[in-house]
Protein backbone atom coordinates (compact mmCIF):
# COMPACT_ATOMS: atom_id res chain seq x y z
CA UNK A 1 0.00 0.00 0.00
CA UNK A 2 2.99 2.23 0.23
CA UNK A 3 2.63 2.75 -3.50
CA UNK A 4 -0.10 5.30 -2.66
CA UNK A 5 2.67 7.70 -1.64
CA UNK A 6 4.05 7.27 -5.10
CA UNK A 7 0.99 9.02 -6.48
CA UNK A 8 1.82 12.17 -4.54
CA UNK A 9 5.47 12.13 -5.64
CA UNK A 10 4.49 11.52 -9.26
CA UNK A 11 2.11 14.48 -9.25
CA UNK A 12 4.89 16.72 -7.92
CA UNK A 13 7.14 15.29 -10.62
CA UNK A 14 4.75 16.24 -13.41
CA UNK A 15 4.40 19.76 -12.02
CA UNK A 16 8.20 20.10 -11.79
CA UNK A 17 8.67 18.81 -15.34
CA UNK A 18 6.19 21.30 -16.77
CA UNK A 19 7.90 24.09 -14.79
CA UNK A 20 11.30 23.01 -16.17
CA UNK A 21 10.09 23.30 -19.74
CA UNK A 22 8.25 26.59 -19.24
CA UNK A 23 10.89 28.60 -17.41
CA UNK A 24 13.29 30.65 -19.48
CA UNK A 25 16.00 31.01 -16.86
CA UNK A 26 18.29 28.02 -17.41
CA UNK A 27 19.69 28.22 -13.90
CA UNK A 28 16.21 27.70 -12.48
CA UNK A 29 15.67 24.81 -14.92
CA UNK A 30 18.84 23.05 -13.70
CA UNK A 31 17.86 23.46 -10.05
CA UNK A 32 14.40 22.09 -10.78
CA UNK A 33 16.01 19.14 -12.54
CA UNK A 34 17.80 18.32 -9.30
CA UNK A 35 14.44 18.31 -7.51
CA UNK A 36 12.94 16.12 -10.26
CA UNK A 37 15.81 13.63 -9.88
CA UNK A 38 15.21 13.42 -6.16
CA UNK A 39 11.47 12.84 -6.65
CA UNK A 40 12.20 10.10 -9.18
CA UNK A 41 14.70 8.52 -6.75
CA UNK A 42 12.03 8.54 -4.04
CA UNK A 43 9.63 6.86 -6.43
CA UNK A 44 12.16 4.21 -7.36
CA UNK A 45 12.59 3.42 -3.68
CA UNK A 46 8.84 3.04 -3.19
CA UNK A 47 8.81 0.64 -6.17
CA UNK A 48 11.44 -1.59 -4.43
CA UNK A 49 14.38 -0.56 -6.61
CA UNK A 50 16.91 0.40 -3.92
CA UNK A 51 20.07 0.22 -6.08
CA UNK A 52 18.48 2.29 -8.83
CA UNK A 53 17.25 4.90 -6.32
CA UNK A 54 20.79 5.27 -4.95
CA UNK A 55 22.23 5.64 -8.45
CA UNK A 56 19.61 8.16 -9.54
CA UNK A 57 20.14 10.26 -6.41
CA UNK A 58 23.94 10.20 -6.67
CA UNK A 59 24.20 10.66 -10.43
CA UNK A 60 21.07 12.60 -11.30
CA UNK A 61 20.76 14.97 -8.37
CA UNK A 62 24.48 15.23 -7.72
CA UNK A 63 26.78 14.99 -10.69
CA UNK A 64 24.31 16.06 -13.36
CA UNK A 65 23.62 19.36 -11.57
CA UNK A 66 27.35 20.10 -11.35
CA UNK A 67 27.89 19.34 -15.05
CA UNK A 68 25.00 21.50 -16.17
CA UNK A 69 26.07 24.39 -13.96
CA UNK A 70 29.64 24.22 -15.29
CA UNK A 71 28.28 24.31 -18.83
CA UNK A 72 25.98 27.23 -17.98
CA UNK A 73 28.94 29.15 -16.56
CA UNK A 74 30.59 28.89 -19.99
CA UNK A 75 27.50 29.75 -22.01
CA UNK A 76 24.64 32.05 -21.26
CA UNK A 77 22.23 31.71 -18.40
CA UNK A 78 19.02 32.92 -20.03
CA UNK A 79 17.11 31.44 -22.89
CA UNK A 80 16.87 34.21 -25.41
CA UNK A 81 14.45 33.31 -28.17
CA UNK A 82 10.87 32.24 -28.00
CA UNK A 83 9.94 28.73 -29.06
CA UNK A 84 9.32 28.09 -32.70
CA UNK A 85 6.57 26.05 -34.37
CA UNK A 86 4.67 26.00 -31.08
CA UNK A 87 1.25 24.95 -32.29
CA UNK A 88 2.53 22.14 -34.49
CA UNK A 89 4.82 20.75 -31.75
CA UNK A 90 2.08 20.91 -29.18
CA UNK A 91 -0.36 19.08 -31.46
CA UNK A 92 2.15 16.34 -32.23
CA UNK A 93 3.07 15.96 -28.58
CA UNK A 94 -0.56 15.89 -27.41
CA UNK A 95 -1.50 13.32 -30.05
CA UNK A 96 1.43 11.08 -29.09
CA UNK A 97 0.55 11.42 -25.41
CA UNK A 98 -3.05 10.38 -26.10
CA UNK A 99 -1.90 7.36 -28.09
CA UNK A 100 0.43 6.34 -25.26
CA UNK A 101 -2.33 6.74 -22.66
CA UNK A 102 -4.63 4.63 -24.81
CA UNK A 103 -1.93 1.96 -24.98
CA UNK A 104 -1.49 1.87 -21.21
CA UNK A 105 -4.94 0.37 -20.76
CA UNK A 106 -3.60 -2.91 -22.09
CA UNK A 107 -0.73 -3.17 -19.63
CA UNK A 108 -0.88 -5.71 -16.82
CA UNK A 109 -1.97 -4.38 -13.43
CA UNK A 110 0.80 -2.79 -11.35
CA UNK A 111 2.37 -5.50 -9.20
CA UNK A 112 0.70 -8.48 -10.84
CA UNK A 113 2.85 -11.51 -10.01
CA UNK A 114 1.59 -13.34 -13.10
CA UNK A 115 2.56 -10.60 -15.55
CA UNK A 116 4.76 -11.92 -18.37
CA UNK A 117 7.77 -9.91 -17.22
CA UNK A 118 7.73 -11.62 -13.81
CA UNK A 119 7.47 -15.20 -15.07
CA UNK A 120 10.08 -15.31 -17.82
CA UNK A 121 13.68 -15.10 -16.63
CA UNK A 122 13.48 -13.37 -13.23
CA UNK A 123 12.52 -16.48 -11.18
CA UNK A 124 15.55 -18.29 -12.63
CA UNK A 125 17.87 -15.49 -11.44
CA UNK A 126 16.24 -15.38 -8.02
CA UNK A 127 16.55 -19.17 -7.57
CA UNK A 128 20.04 -19.59 -8.90
CA UNK A 129 21.86 -16.67 -7.36
CA UNK A 130 22.30 -18.45 -4.00
CA UNK A 131 23.44 -21.57 -5.83
CA UNK A 132 26.00 -20.14 -8.26
CA UNK A 133 27.07 -16.84 -6.76
CA UNK A 134 25.82 -16.78 -3.17
CA UNK A 135 25.73 -13.03 -2.54
CA UNK A 136 22.66 -11.36 -1.02
CA UNK A 137 22.21 -8.57 -3.56
CA UNK A 138 20.67 -10.17 -6.64
CA UNK A 139 20.99 -6.97 -8.69
CA UNK A 140 24.79 -6.93 -8.25
CA UNK A 141 24.94 -10.64 -9.07
CA UNK A 142 23.03 -10.15 -12.31
CA UNK A 143 24.92 -6.96 -13.17
CA UNK A 144 28.35 -8.37 -12.43
CA UNK A 145 28.15 -11.98 -13.38
CA UNK A 146 25.05 -13.17 -15.20
CA UNK A 147 24.94 -10.09 -17.47
CA UNK A 148 28.57 -9.06 -17.08
CA UNK A 149 29.04 -8.50 -20.80
CA UNK A 150 26.53 -5.63 -20.78
CA UNK A 151 28.36 -4.02 -17.89
CA UNK A 152 31.62 -4.30 -19.83
CA UNK A 153 29.96 -2.39 -22.67
CA UNK A 154 28.75 0.22 -20.24
CA UNK A 155 32.23 0.76 -18.80
CA UNK A 156 33.45 1.32 -22.34
CA UNK A 157 30.64 3.85 -22.94
CA UNK A 158 31.67 5.82 -19.83
CA UNK A 159 35.31 5.68 -20.96
CA UNK A 160 34.36 6.89 -24.45
CA UNK A 161 32.35 9.79 -23.07
CA UNK A 162 35.36 10.82 -20.96
CA UNK A 163 37.69 10.68 -23.96
CA UNK A 164 35.14 12.56 -26.06
CA UNK A 165 34.85 15.44 -23.61
CA UNK A 166 38.64 15.62 -23.28
CA UNK A 167 38.98 15.79 -27.05
CA UNK A 168 36.40 18.58 -27.26
CA UNK A 169 37.47 20.70 -24.33
CA UNK A 170 41.12 19.82 -23.91
CA UNK A 171 42.96 18.47 -20.93
CA UNK A 172 43.53 21.95 -19.54
CA UNK A 173 46.61 23.96 -18.80
CA UNK A 174 49.51 22.23 -17.12
CA UNK A 175 50.01 23.31 -13.52
CA UNK A 176 53.04 25.35 -14.43
CA UNK A 177 50.97 27.56 -16.69
CA UNK A 178 48.47 28.47 -13.97
CA UNK A 179 49.00 31.95 -12.51
CA UNK A 180 50.80 32.09 -9.19
CA UNK A 181 48.88 30.67 -6.26
CA UNK A 182 46.52 33.41 -5.21
CA UNK A 183 45.06 33.88 -1.83
CA UNK A 184 41.46 34.09 -2.95
CA UNK A 185 41.20 30.86 -4.95
CA UNK A 186 38.09 28.81 -4.56
CA UNK A 187 36.07 29.73 -1.52
CA UNK A 188 39.06 30.27 0.75
CA UNK A 189 37.77 33.57 2.10
CA UNK A 190 34.48 32.13 3.18
CA UNK A 191 35.12 30.60 6.54
CA UNK A 192 32.00 28.57 7.19
CA UNK A 193 31.70 26.67 3.89
CA UNK A 194 35.42 26.04 3.95
CA UNK A 195 35.47 24.69 7.50
CA UNK A 196 32.39 22.52 7.22
CA UNK A 197 33.45 21.29 3.81
CA UNK A 198 36.85 20.20 5.05
CA UNK A 199 35.11 18.46 7.97
CA UNK A 200 32.67 16.61 5.78
CA UNK A 201 34.84 15.58 2.79
CA UNK A 202 36.64 12.65 4.55
CA UNK A 203 33.27 11.20 5.52
CA UNK A 204 32.00 11.53 1.96
CA UNK A 205 35.02 9.61 0.67
CA UNK A 206 34.61 7.01 3.41
CA UNK A 207 30.96 6.59 2.48
CA UNK A 208 31.95 6.17 -1.15
CA UNK A 209 34.31 3.35 -0.20
CA UNK A 210 31.59 1.78 1.96
CA UNK A 211 29.13 1.85 -0.92
CA UNK A 212 31.74 0.36 -3.26
CA UNK A 213 32.53 -2.66 -1.16
CA UNK A 214 29.05 -3.27 0.22
CA UNK A 215 27.50 -3.53 -3.21
CA UNK A 216 27.28 -7.27 -2.74
CA UNK A 217 25.42 -7.16 0.57
CA UNK A 218 23.10 -4.23 0.09
CA UNK A 219 22.37 -1.47 -2.39
CA UNK A 220 25.58 -0.14 -3.82
CA UNK A 221 28.29 -1.02 -6.26
CA UNK A 222 30.84 0.61 -8.50
CA UNK A 223 28.73 3.23 -10.26
CA UNK A 224 27.24 4.77 -7.14
CA UNK A 225 30.60 4.72 -5.36
CA UNK A 226 32.33 6.41 -8.28
CA UNK A 227 29.72 9.16 -8.36
CA UNK A 228 29.93 9.73 -4.58
CA UNK A 229 33.74 9.90 -4.52
CA UNK A 230 33.71 12.24 -7.53
CA UNK A 231 31.19 14.47 -5.74
CA UNK A 232 33.44 14.63 -2.68
CA UNK A 233 36.43 15.69 -4.74
CA UNK A 234 34.37 18.22 -6.69
CA UNK A 235 33.42 19.76 -3.33
CA UNK A 236 37.12 19.92 -2.48
CA UNK A 237 37.87 21.60 -5.81
CA UNK A 238 35.11 24.16 -5.27
CA UNK A 239 36.30 25.05 -1.77
CA UNK A 240 40.06 24.99 -2.10
CA UNK A 241 40.41 26.06 -5.72
CA UNK A 242 41.28 24.08 -8.76
CA UNK A 243 45.05 24.27 -8.32
CA UNK A 244 44.88 22.41 -5.00
CA UNK A 245 42.47 19.83 -6.42
CA UNK A 246 44.79 19.18 -9.35
CA UNK A 247 47.71 18.89 -6.92
CA UNK A 248 45.84 16.24 -4.95
CA UNK A 249 44.72 14.23 -7.99
CA UNK A 250 46.82 15.29 -10.97
CA UNK A 251 45.48 15.06 -14.47
CA UNK A 252 47.77 12.16 -15.40
CA UNK A 253 46.42 10.11 -12.49
CA UNK A 254 42.85 10.83 -13.60
CA UNK A 255 43.71 9.68 -17.12
CA UNK A 256 45.14 6.53 -15.58
CA UNK A 257 41.92 6.00 -13.62
CA UNK A 258 39.89 6.42 -16.79
CA UNK A 259 41.83 3.74 -18.61
CA UNK A 260 42.24 1.40 -15.64
CA UNK A 261 38.59 0.43 -15.43
CA UNK A 262 38.11 -1.16 -18.86
CA UNK A 263 41.64 -2.61 -18.51
CA UNK A 264 40.82 -4.37 -15.24
CA UNK A 265 37.49 -5.55 -16.55
CA UNK A 266 38.93 -6.91 -19.79
CA UNK A 267 41.82 -8.53 -17.92
CA UNK A 268 39.45 -10.41 -15.64
CA UNK A 269 37.64 -11.62 -18.75
CA UNK A 270 40.82 -12.76 -20.43
CA UNK A 271 42.05 -14.37 -17.21
CA UNK A 272 38.88 -16.44 -17.34
CA UNK A 273 39.86 -17.64 -20.81
CA UNK A 274 43.45 -18.36 -19.85
CA UNK A 275 42.39 -20.40 -16.83
CA UNK A 276 40.14 -22.62 -18.90
CA UNK A 277 36.68 -21.03 -18.98
CA UNK A 278 34.88 -18.64 -21.29
CA UNK A 279 35.36 -14.88 -21.58
CA UNK A 280 34.14 -13.21 -18.36
CA UNK A 281 33.63 -16.59 -16.69
CA UNK A 282 34.69 -16.06 -13.09
CA UNK A 283 34.43 -19.64 -11.89
CA UNK A 284 38.00 -20.69 -12.90
CA UNK A 285 39.50 -17.75 -10.98
CA UNK A 286 39.71 -19.76 -7.78
CA UNK A 287 39.60 -23.41 -6.74
CA UNK A 288 36.01 -23.08 -5.50
CA UNK A 289 33.69 -21.73 -8.27
CA UNK A 290 31.60 -19.67 -5.84
CA UNK A 291 34.73 -18.03 -4.41
CA UNK A 292 35.83 -17.40 -7.97
CA UNK A 293 32.57 -15.58 -8.63
CA UNK A 294 33.06 -13.45 -5.52
CA UNK A 295 36.59 -12.55 -6.60
CA UNK A 296 35.49 -11.75 -10.12
CA UNK A 297 32.64 -9.50 -9.05
CA UNK A 298 34.89 -7.69 -6.53
CA UNK A 299 37.54 -6.99 -9.18
CA UNK A 300 35.16 -5.73 -11.82
CA UNK A 301 33.29 -3.51 -9.37
CA UNK A 302 36.63 -1.94 -8.40
CA UNK A 303 37.33 -1.36 -12.09
CA UNK A 304 33.93 0.23 -12.61
CA UNK A 305 34.29 2.50 -9.57
CA UNK A 306 37.76 3.70 -10.64
CA UNK A 307 36.61 4.47 -14.18
CA UNK A 308 33.50 6.38 -13.12
CA UNK A 309 35.54 8.47 -10.66
CA UNK A 310 38.22 9.25 -13.22
CA UNK A 311 35.79 10.13 -15.99
CA UNK A 312 33.53 12.37 -13.88
CA UNK A 313 36.51 14.23 -12.40
CA UNK A 314 38.21 14.65 -15.79
CA UNK A 315 35.01 16.06 -17.24
CA UNK A 316 34.64 18.48 -14.32
CA UNK A 317 38.23 19.69 -14.64
CA UNK A 318 37.85 20.04 -18.41
CA UNK A 319 34.82 22.30 -17.96
CA UNK A 320 36.46 24.27 -15.16
CA UNK A 321 39.68 24.83 -17.07
CA UNK A 322 37.85 26.10 -20.15
CA UNK A 323 36.69 29.21 -18.41
CA UNK A 324 40.15 30.41 -17.63
Amino acid sequence: MIVIFGVFLLTLLVITAIAIVRTDNLFVAVMLMGIASLLIAGNFFILDAADVALTEAAVGAGISTVLFLSALALTSERERSKSSRRVLSFTVVAAAALVLIYATFDKPRLGDPQAPVQTHVAPWYLENTPKYIDIPNVVTAVLGSFRGYDTLGEVFVVFTAGIGVLFLLGIGATPGALPKEQDNEGLRHYLIPRLVGRLVIPFILLFGLYVQFHGEYGPGGGFQAGAIVAAGIVLFALIEGERRALAVLPQRLLLGFMAAGPLIYGSVGIAGIMLGGNFLDYSPLSSDPVKGQHLGILLIEIGVGITVTGVLLSIFHAFAARGR
Partner: protein
Protein backbone atom coordinates in the same frame (compact mmCIF):
# COMPACT_ATOMS: atom_id res chain seq x y z
CA UNK B 1 -5.98 -0.70 -7.52
CA UNK B 2 -5.99 -0.69 -11.26
CA UNK B 3 -6.11 3.09 -11.24
CA UNK B 4 -2.88 3.23 -9.22
CA UNK B 5 -0.89 1.38 -11.83
CA UNK B 6 -2.56 3.29 -14.63
CA UNK B 7 -1.61 6.55 -12.92
CA UNK B 8 2.06 5.54 -12.99
CA UNK B 9 1.87 4.82 -16.71
CA UNK B 10 0.01 8.06 -17.45
CA UNK B 11 2.68 10.04 -15.62
CA UNK B 12 5.25 8.22 -17.76
CA UNK B 13 3.39 9.28 -20.92
CA UNK B 14 3.09 12.93 -19.80
CA UNK B 15 6.74 13.12 -18.69
CA UNK B 16 7.90 11.55 -21.95
CA UNK B 17 5.97 14.02 -24.03
CA UNK B 18 7.05 17.00 -21.91
CA UNK B 19 10.69 16.12 -22.49
CA UNK B 20 10.02 15.56 -26.16
CA UNK B 21 8.28 18.92 -26.46
CA UNK B 22 11.35 20.62 -24.98
CA UNK B 23 13.52 18.90 -27.57
CA UNK B 24 11.48 19.84 -30.62
CA UNK B 25 9.97 23.20 -29.72
CA UNK B 26 12.68 25.00 -27.75
CA UNK B 27 15.53 26.67 -29.59
CA UNK B 28 18.12 26.81 -26.82
CA UNK B 29 20.58 23.92 -27.06
CA UNK B 30 20.95 23.46 -23.29
CA UNK B 31 17.15 23.39 -22.97
CA UNK B 32 17.04 20.62 -25.55
CA UNK B 33 19.56 18.62 -23.54
CA UNK B 34 17.50 19.13 -20.40
CA UNK B 35 14.42 17.89 -22.28
CA UNK B 36 16.34 14.82 -23.41
CA UNK B 37 17.25 14.14 -19.78
CA UNK B 38 13.57 14.30 -18.80
CA UNK B 39 12.74 11.91 -21.66
CA UNK B 40 15.28 9.39 -20.35
CA UNK B 41 13.98 9.71 -16.79
CA UNK B 42 10.46 8.91 -18.00
CA UNK B 43 11.67 5.71 -19.67
CA UNK B 44 13.42 4.68 -16.44
CA UNK B 45 10.16 5.22 -14.57
CA UNK B 46 8.32 2.93 -17.01
CA UNK B 47 10.74 0.04 -16.58
CA UNK B 48 10.90 0.23 -12.80
CA UNK B 49 7.10 0.46 -12.60
CA UNK B 50 6.88 -2.75 -14.60
CA UNK B 51 9.21 -4.56 -12.22
CA UNK B 52 7.17 -4.13 -9.04
CA UNK B 53 5.52 -7.22 -7.53
CA UNK B 54 2.67 -7.02 -5.02
CA UNK B 55 3.95 -7.40 -1.47
CA UNK B 56 7.52 -7.66 -2.66
CA UNK B 57 10.67 -6.13 -1.30
CA UNK B 58 13.95 -5.09 -2.84
CA UNK B 59 15.72 -8.13 -4.36
CA UNK B 60 18.24 -8.55 -1.56
CA UNK B 61 18.31 -11.85 0.34
CA UNK B 62 18.07 -11.09 4.03
CA UNK B 63 17.62 -14.50 5.58
CA UNK B 64 13.81 -14.55 5.57
CA UNK B 65 12.67 -17.89 4.25
CA UNK B 66 9.89 -17.15 1.81
CA UNK B 67 10.10 -13.48 0.97
CA UNK B 68 8.63 -12.22 -2.29
CA UNK B 69 11.06 -10.19 -4.34
CA UNK B 70 10.53 -7.62 -7.03
CA UNK B 71 11.98 -8.35 -10.42
CA UNK B 72 15.74 -7.61 -10.45
CA UNK B 73 16.23 -7.58 -14.21
CA UNK B 74 14.76 -4.16 -15.12
CA UNK B 75 16.72 -2.69 -12.22
CA UNK B 76 19.97 -3.93 -13.75
CA UNK B 77 19.03 -2.46 -17.13
CA UNK B 78 18.08 0.91 -15.68
CA UNK B 79 21.23 1.07 -13.53
CA UNK B 80 23.26 0.81 -16.71
CA UNK B 81 20.99 3.23 -18.53
CA UNK B 82 21.30 5.98 -15.90
CA UNK B 83 25.09 6.00 -16.12
CA UNK B 84 25.04 5.90 -19.92
CA UNK B 85 22.56 8.79 -19.90
CA UNK B 86 24.80 11.00 -17.80
CA UNK B 87 27.79 10.16 -20.04
CA UNK B 88 25.98 11.21 -23.19
CA UNK B 89 24.65 14.34 -21.47
CA UNK B 90 28.20 15.29 -20.50
CA UNK B 91 29.37 14.79 -24.07
CA UNK B 92 26.44 16.85 -25.35
CA UNK B 93 27.30 19.67 -22.96
CA UNK B 94 30.90 19.62 -24.22
CA UNK B 95 29.63 20.02 -27.78
CA UNK B 96 27.35 22.91 -26.72
CA UNK B 97 30.26 24.70 -25.04
CA UNK B 98 32.35 24.38 -28.21
CA UNK B 99 29.46 25.59 -30.38
CA UNK B 100 29.13 28.61 -28.11
CA UNK B 101 32.82 29.40 -28.55
CA UNK B 102 32.67 29.11 -32.32
CA UNK B 103 29.33 30.82 -33.05
CA UNK B 104 28.93 33.06 -30.03
CA UNK B 105 25.44 31.84 -29.21
CA UNK B 106 23.54 28.70 -28.28
CA UNK B 107 20.20 29.55 -29.85
CA UNK B 108 19.40 27.41 -32.85
CA UNK B 109 17.99 30.15 -35.09
CA UNK B 110 20.95 32.48 -34.49
CA UNK B 111 23.38 29.65 -35.28
CA UNK B 112 21.58 28.84 -38.51
CA UNK B 113 21.60 32.55 -39.40
CA UNK B 114 25.37 32.75 -38.89
CA UNK B 115 25.81 29.58 -40.93
CA UNK B 116 23.87 31.00 -43.83
CA UNK B 117 26.13 34.05 -44.09
Amino acid sequence: MELLGLYHYWVFAILLMTGFYAVIAKLNLVKKLIGLSLFQAAVFLLYITMSKVDGGTAPIFSGAADAVFSNPLPQVLILTAIVVGISTTALGLGIVVRINEEYGSIEEDEIQEIDRR
